[in-house]
Amino acid sequence: MKIAVCLKQVPSRDSVLRINAAGNWIQETDINYEVNEPDIYALEEALRLKEAQGGEVVICSLGPARATQAIKEALAKGADRALHLEDAAFEGLDANGIAKVFAAALKPENPDLIVTGLQSDDLGFAQTGVMLAEFLGLPHSTIIMQIEVNGGRMRVKRELEAGWFQWIDMPLPAVLTIQSGINKPRYATLKGIMAAKNKPVRKVSMADLGINQQEIAPGLKVLKIYPPVKQSKTEFLEGSAKEIAVKLVDKLKNEARVL
């Protein structure tokens, strides 16, 4: 089966983020990037399906030139080839616009299954995968913790709140958004890293897709970002580790009365 994986490059969790001069995004220079964590699980699921069923894994990533690094990582883990959606016109799109761009890029690929992480670690709207399904006219399911493909159909385990689950039976082709923890993602091997150098990465621009700017005009805008206003009355305990321990035990015993 042919499986497409939509993955996004996001600032790494350990990066110290600063707000840009315009106040509407972070400063993108001098920080490290990594593959969005839920997308890593989606990629792993795609690789396992390919290993079990045969076929091909195609990466589809939208982002500036730096996203090449995320694509290389996915190819090094075992994906076969990639589409890199790169165009200045793709900047500042909302999830709706991004999903339209993905849909236009993936339609000619005709994948049997499209997987992506349930949300991104940067904006976290949790919309792109579901919107992509709609624009491709495909069924979808979200927050998936297990996939069992059987011929032209599959059974997927969907996570619900508070420890509940549900199996969903659905046809292929389809789009699934994958929950973190569904599997144990592999690391790239040295052999994989070497092999990735020769795997095809095709750049795709707005002109290649036949979309006009009007169609993807954002319906949602980020006006500004800022540190959360501190509302808490947290009492910070300071000193040496020993002093802190003494203070905390005293507070827990005599102030909070929980000991």
Partner: protein, 330 residues
């Protein structure tokens, strides 16, 4: 003309779910300030009793779409029906709670209507007549102000706990319930849901625990869990964890606290190396006393902590265990 707000009412096991009441509270608050009206829409089969439950709120009306094809939730069935209701009633706003069900279908509905979707908002404010929604970005490191384009309907989902269920205004009389013929047919529904179930091995009930020590990414490696276990023993506490720890298999899933795990309300919650993303906070903000140990002083967990310790948990915890042992012994 006065604006109109439509609230999506979710139900489970014959009851309206709690986050729906919070969404009603949000809609009523917005409506009060804007002079708008609030309606609710409910989908399902044999809705008489549950429509009456939601009609007790102070609403203009309740729109009920009843049909066998809506007996079980499916994204295809729900979006078909909601799109028809929205086209029929033309609300200015549609408000949802950001539940797993809404996350499953609201982006599809937004795509069908070709609208933006302000998802997972924590609140809003009105500025120069414009509604600005506030939500977290970068895992809670920053907040973002976002706006939707002018075209209606404008779709918004609010995170659970952003508004208070007990702020819902009840009506002096039940709101009228109108039946709307918008039920989908089989062709609109391509996914077949099975029964809801829980994993049988849910062995640990953290919901009743009085004291909890919870660990997050800051614990760094599974072999370091022993330190947290020794702290939990010294306190007589249960051990819990944030999602990444259970995802990595370092602790079983039934130790997980947060929106996808257990919701706890202990007397003491001691968070070790947990940054406190919203999904985690949802599961523990009922704790009476929260102690947070984290090396990042900007970590969102400090927003909900009673006592905060900015530092390396590997330095802070060992003397804490010693002090606790002394107190217990003395």
């Amino acid at each position: 003309m006065a604006e109109s707000i439509l609230v999506f009412a979710e139900h489970q096991g014959g009851k309206i779910v709690r986050p729906t009441w919070e969404a009603i509270a949000a809609a009523q608050q917005i409506a009060k300030e804007a002079g708008a009206s609030v309606s609710a829409v409910i989908l399902g089969e044999n809705l008489t009793a549950i429509a009456a439950e939601i009609a007790a709120a102070d609403l203009k009306d309740v729109l009920a779409v009843d049909g066998a094809a809506l007996k079980e939730y499916t994204p295809g069935g729900y979006c078909f029906a909601l799109k028809k209701v929205i086209e029929d009633r033309k609300p200015d706003w549609v408000i949802f709670s950001h539940t797993y069900q809404v996350r499953d279908f609201a982006p599809k509905l937004a795509a069908m209507l070709n609208r933006g979707l302000a998802s997972d908002c924590l609140g809003y404010r009105r500025e120069d007549g414009r509604m600005i929604f506030v939500r977290q970005v970068f895992q809670g490191k920053f907040n973002a102000d976002i706006v939707l384009a002018d075209e209606t309907p404008r779709l918004v989902t609010f995170q659970a706990g952003s508004f208070r269920e007990d702020a819902v205004t009840r009506g002096s009389n039940p709101a009228p319930v109108f039946r709307i013929a918008a039920a989908p047919n089989a062709a609109n529904i391509r996914t077949q849901p099975g029964e809801r179930f829980r994993e049988a091995k849910q062995a640990v009930d953290l919901t009743q625990a009085e004291l909890i020590v919870a660990v997050g990414r800051g614990i760094k490696a599974p072999e370091n869990l022993d330190l947290a276990k020794r702290l939990a023993e010294a306190l007589g506490a249960e051990l819990g964890a944030s999602r990444p720890i259970c995802d990595s298999g370092w602790l079983p899933m039934d130790r997980q606290i947060g929106s996808s795990g257990q919701t706890v309300a202990p007397k003491l919650y001691l968070a070790l190396g947990i940054s406190g993303a919203i999904q985690h906070q949802v599961g523990m903000k009922g704790a009476r006393t929260v102690v947070a140990v984290n090396k990042d002083k900007e970590a969102p967990i400090f927003e909900v902590a009673t006592y905060g310790i900015v530092g390396d948990l590997f330095e802070v915890v060992p003397p804490l265990i010693e002090e606790l042992k002394k107190v217990k012994a003395g």
